[in-house]
Symmetry: C2
Subunit: 293 residues, 2 copies
């Protein structure tokens, strides 16, 4: 099976490499050449344009940072849908709105091809280890056809339901990730200000009902080391929280904690914290508290 | 060692029984007689007043719902401090403010007795199994003397620091519990409204970065069963969030998510949801969303 992979970023590159290692004839494509070279150095194929990938591959996977990037790659004049060969299966692993998924799904149907939304969770560590959680929306028979492809990249692979369902599950996941991130910021800022030992606090909290996988990620590798190299950038989490807000509005669900965190993260990005790892929300918390003192 | 235990509630009764089972000569005391009878039926001693406990025991533990209850039992005319024999060690396992702990610590010193703040985490399950997390503030040599007593009730026992430190750690724990509780409410409300299968969503989230011990508690045993018998009552979590707000104000720390959740929980209690388990915040979420639809 020939697989194209568009978007060789922090997530996409290790995902594409895992496809290559699993024996799929994998073609990588990225806006910047540097990432393509890295992929080629480790045995991946490069050199095909987006239209060529659409015309020659059996499956094309996209893994892109922003919804606008996804729209461009799919619906642009030189995009995937314009050149897609009959029977092509398109899989979008980006985090976008269920609405955009449903729109691409409908356009793909019209073009005689298939589309799945298949956003992932698990970060760069999960992408490298091939242990991502993958949440899939679309037609189940299409999902079954590409299951081996997904299994090369992830471990907990769930067919969630109709088009957009994968993204709905992913956005709900991100809502919790965002809220839990801010919970960590507030908890450790309070601990620091009161004068507790943060390592001791972490040991207490991770063994109690305060435990979250986000705290287990953010504290030891980022906050304790005062090092906020992403990982997953704060600006991407902020983008996701904005997508959740749109989904919640359509679903008529009040996001109390979600809204307060979303507003804060948007301010953090505006204040220049967006390129930090998402755990850097703690650094923003400390800076804001400092102003108050 | 003779141990008095004041407050045989959902948490206190199993804790006192574990002391009895561990071989301590344990005397239970509760405002309502029914709980004392339960304790006596399982072999515990009863019948001593608060002053008698203060005069005759080596250690007296308190585990009470509200800060005002704690203040009354310690500083009232018939309270512990008025009748305390020299060398008595007082341990408060209630969740109160670090400020109240420090005040009782100072009064205890004046009366020639010792005081530790030792709030617990782990819920009724942890109390019954004797696996509570216990966070202790006060003098370390006093902590060392009563460590066997604490070990009969808990597993992760940490000496955190000077008087009030145990409560500071506990309140930070509760801040996260409160925020995580609301994260669960918003996530599952969104899932329900979008039309996802909640059991499937739980399986995805608990295996991804959305996981929290609070979600692992709230979903399977409460939300999935639509049963909100406490457990830990929403009004108590609300009380704790109010205590955290006071601590944060003193520490000059901005609680963004914490404040939004605190306000919501106070409204939930005012609207009659306080006696539900804390996971019942989800039921309140659904009721509020319904109004908007």
């Amino acid at each position: 099976m020939k697989v194209g992979f568009i978007g060789l970023g922090n997530m996409g590159l290790p995902m594409a490499l895992n496809l290559h290692k699993a024996g799929f004839e994998t073609y990588g494509k990225n806006r910047s050449e540097g990432k393509e070279k890295k992929f080629a150095e480790q045995g991946g194929n490069i050199g095909l344009s987006i239209s060529e990938l659409a015309a020659q591959m059996d499956v094309v996977i996209t893994c892109l940072p922003m919804p606008a990037d996804v729209e461009g790659v799919y619906t642009g004049a030189d995009g995937l849908l314009a050149s897609a060969k009959k029977g092509l299966i398109l899989i979008d692993c980006s985090t976008v709105s269920p609405g955009l998924n449903q729109q691409l799904f409908a356009q793909a149907e019209q073009a005689g091809v298939s589309f799945l939304d298949a956003p992932v969770s698990g970060g760069t560590t999960g992408a490298e280890a091939g242990t991502l959680s993958i949440m899939v929306g679309g037609k189940e028979e299409v999902f079954n056809k590409v299951k081996p492809v997904l299994e090369a990249m992830g471990k907990n692979i769930t067919f969630v339901g109709p088009s957009g369902s994968g993204s709905a599950a992913k956005l709900i996941n991100q809502l919790m990730v965002g809220i839990h991130t801010q919970a960590v910021s507030e908890a450790y800022a309070l601990s620091k200000s009161f004068g507790l030992d943060s390592d001791m606090l972490f040991n207490i909290l991770t063994n109690s009902f305060a435990q979250s996988r986000i705290m287990d990620r953010h504290y030891p590798d980022f906050i304790a080391k005062e090092s906020y190299e992403p990982g997953f950038a704060l600006k991407l989490l902020t983008k996701d929280m904005n997508l959740v807000a749109g989904m919640a509005e359509e679903c008529k669900v009040n996001l109390t904690a979600g809204s307060s965190v979303r507003e804060l993260l948007n301010r953090a990005v505006a204040d220049g914290y967006g390129d930090l790892d998402m755990s850097g929300a703690y650094k923003y918390q400390l800076a804001n508290d400092e102003k108050q003192k």
